[in-house]
Amino acid sequence: MKTRRELLRDLIVSVGGLTALTACGDAPVLVATAGGGPGRFYSSGEMELVSRLSDLIIPRTETPGALDVNVPGYMDGLMTDWASEETGNAHRQALREIERRLSARGDFLELDDVEAVRALTALDSAAFGEQAAELGGYRSFKSYVTRAYFATEGGAREELQWVAVPGRWDPDVLVTDRQGA
């Protein structure tokens, strides 16, 4: 039986191999995500953690999820090509802290979905509640994940229904209307 970690690797391969991602234009930079290998910035272990967290934060629903649009690859590129050494180190430190907190009762990456959601929900709740000061790194990570997701074609066009050329300005639209822009 495959471990949770092996299943995750398979998932990454199935939804986001290098060739497919490059072809759909969603991933400006993605190196060696497939098979659990390291990225250009992330180590193999970090890539696995980022992938698992991204998948839990923005899962596949009727629209693509974070892994479908390769949020981990986007973030690997971001940390490699945009971030300064200081920013990259802070991000890496945040990942270590997130993993430490999530693995208090065992390896987070080995948890099943129910347990993983429970652990991450608790962390998320603390980060936006009583431990806001200590968990700034998590909030920053979540911001990168969310922004990366909506910066991809799948996130922008399918989930947000972003329209390239609205052609008009309507200042008053009922929210029940799914129309984007």
Partner: protein
């Protein structure tokens, strides 16, 4: 040996005012050379407005290392506008350095290329009002404007008709209406804010921002390839629809189609040639930015439109035996009275009652504008002059992921607009002060041999008090509008220069002893020299000034053309 090339008129600079000067001179039949210090912008190649979000990497952010190396002044100054895909619109600070006098700081934010900063501006467009031309005299501040509102009103009308300004007629004396195209309608929260604030403060108005975007393009505008705004809000990247006004979208094509325009790129002006026998400028010496080749262009008249700072520097660089302190600087006012607008005070809050509403389209600029009321309709202020607010109301959204939750619910929460946030920020008037100035650095030179700019600009106590009051007023208006969770940080004045409204460095006036230009933007000391960028401004008012620069440019161009036709020049 430098080659001399003869024109009727030379316009130095192709930005907001230079484009208008060139258009009007060309349309009057003059052969005009526009000398632009930067490279040519080719929209099909250089605009990035049609990139979708997923076609830019790293959120379209310039890398932090590159900011540190090349954009260490530009990016902190205008981080909202400097992106990876449009960074070529902004100068690299390491290639175009400047200096500040110890204890002062200045944001000199620039774009060197065809159309200058008219490509990157934020497009808020307002007339000055009658009071703005009279307050110096009434209060004994600096010198009197030699021009009154009625002198410039017809030129505002002419320029606005060409430019295209979306706005609403309000009939306010302190902010005269322009020739308008339909305004971008206010959002529901903005309409509520307007109603509540105007009820609570009858002496204040909340109006549509006035912005230079086409919403009902005229035949003339369409003939230049311009069309209505498509509500994409990609304006800082250029506009393939030519819907917002820029020199590249409007005035330069209009000048070009006369057949009288010669555009010269990469031409960095070193100095103006002055002939003491005739008391005329005879030519412009330039150095090619790429080849370092020296050339001289000659003409009957010269318009300086290089920006208030660069035009002053060109005069200072053109010292001669007749003008040892710089060309046309008999008054010693060149480089002085450098003004900008001052921001750094405002407030924001959540307005309930609109959570079931959202918008379609991305409004390109503006929202609401609160015209100046201080010392006009309210006279109990502990400062002189006043400020206007720019702002708007829009859904907060959750694009940064800064709300609790994970999974489907978190993901789909982004479909909902979230609460509506109202924000307003002040733009205040900076008083003229002769000690606020740009001079030539005594020792440092750029790679082309020109002296670096040396800035010495400080705010006065009036600006500090004004912005403190602006913060209090902003909070009071948000409270009156029923906003919740009102936030307003301590007043933190923007650096001088940060609003990119440089003006005052060669002011106009009636007396050659205390001003550089007469009321026609013509140099007192050198009759065939005109300066119609922000340098001519005698006071800054608090309105965004580009429209005023263009109106004075058009007026001066026709005046100069008339003098040439009469044989006076």
């Amino acid at each position: 040996m430098a080659e001399a090339i003869e024109f009727d008129a030379i316009v130095v600079g192709s930005g907001m005012s230079g484009g208008m000067s060139a258009k009007e001179l060309c349309e009057r039949g003059l052969k005009v050379a526009v000398l632009e210090r930067g490279p040519e912008i080719v929209p099909e190649r250089d605009y990035s407005d049609q990139l979708a979000p997923w076609e830019s990497r790293n959120f379209d952010n310039v890398s932090q290392q590159e900011i540190e190396q090349h954009y260490f002044r530009q990016y902190p100054g205008v981080s909202y506008a400097v992106k990876e895909s449009n960074k070529h619109f902004w100068v690299k600070d390491d290639e175009h350095p400047y200096e500040e006098v110890e204890g002062t700081s200045y944001d000199w934010l620039r774009g060197y290329h065809t159309a200058g900063r008219s490509i990157m501006w934020s497009r808020q467009t307002y007339r000055l009002g009658p009071l703005d031309f009279e307050e110096n005299l009434r209060e004994g501040v600096a010198i009197d404007w030699p021009v009154r509102y009625q002198d410039i009103a017809p030129w505002y009308e002419k320029v606005e008709t060409f430019v295209g300004v979306a706005g609403s007629e309000e009939g306010l004396s302190q902010l005269p209406d322009s020739v308008f195209q339909p305004a971008f309608e206010l959002t529901g929260a903005e309409k509520a804010f307007k109603q509540r604030v105007e009820n609570a403060f009858p002496s204040r108005n909340v109006i549509n921002a006035r912005i230079a975007h086409l919403t009902d393009a005229t035949e003339e505008q369409r003939s230049l390839g311009r069309s209505n705004c498509q509500a994409r809000n990609r304006c800082h990247h250029g506009c393939a629809f030519r819907a917002y006004f820029s020199s590249l979208n409007a005035t330069l094509p209009a000048a070009e189609r006369t057949g009288n325009l010669t555009m010269v790129h990469n031409a960095i002006v070193q100095s103006l040639e002055y002939e003491p026998e005739t008391n005329r400028v005879t030519g412009v010496r330039v150095i090619d930015a790429e080849t370092n080749e020296a050339r001289t262009y000659t003409s009957k008249i010269v318009f300086l439109n290089a920006s208030a700072i660069a035009s002053a520097m060109i005069l200072l660089q053109s010292a001669s035996e007749r003008f040892p302190n710089g060309l046309a600087n008999g008054s010693d006012q060149v480089g002085r009275n450098l003004m900008d607008h001052v921001s750094g005070a405002g407030a924001a809050g959540i307005m309930r009652g609109f959570d079931d509403r959202k918008v379609f389209g991305r409004r390109p600029s503006g929202g609401i504008y609160i015209p100046r009321y201080a010392n006009i309709t309210e006279n109990d202020k502990p400062f002189t002059r006043g400020f206007g607010y720019q702002g708007g109301a829009r859904p907060v959204g959750h694009a940064n992921g800064q709300i609790p939750g994970i999974g489907r619910e978190f993901k789909e929460s982004h479909r909902r607009p979230g609460p509506w946030r109202v924000s307003i920020g002040a733009f205040g008037e900076q008083l003229p002060n002769p000690d606020n100035r740009v001079t030539l650095h005594p020792t440092r030179r750029d790679r082309w041999g020109n002296p670096l700019a040396l800035f010495e600009v400080r705010y006065s106590r009036n600006e500090e008090i004004m912005l403190e009051e602006a913060r209090k007023d902003a909070i009071a208006m948000l409270e009156a509008a029923g906003c919740e969770q009102i936030s307003s940080g301590p007043v933190n004045l923007t650096k001088p220069g940060n609003r990119i409204h440089e003006m005052g460095s060669a002011r106009m006036g009636r007396d050659p002893a205390d001003s550089v230009l007469n009321g026609w933007c013509q140099a007192h000391d050198v009759p065939n020299l005109f300066i119609t960028d922000g340098a001519f401004m005698v006071s800054s008012a608090c309105q965004n000034p580009s429209l005023t620069y263009m109106a004075f440019s058009a007026r001066a161009a026709h005046y100069a053309a008339d003098l040439l036709a009469e044989g006076t020049l």
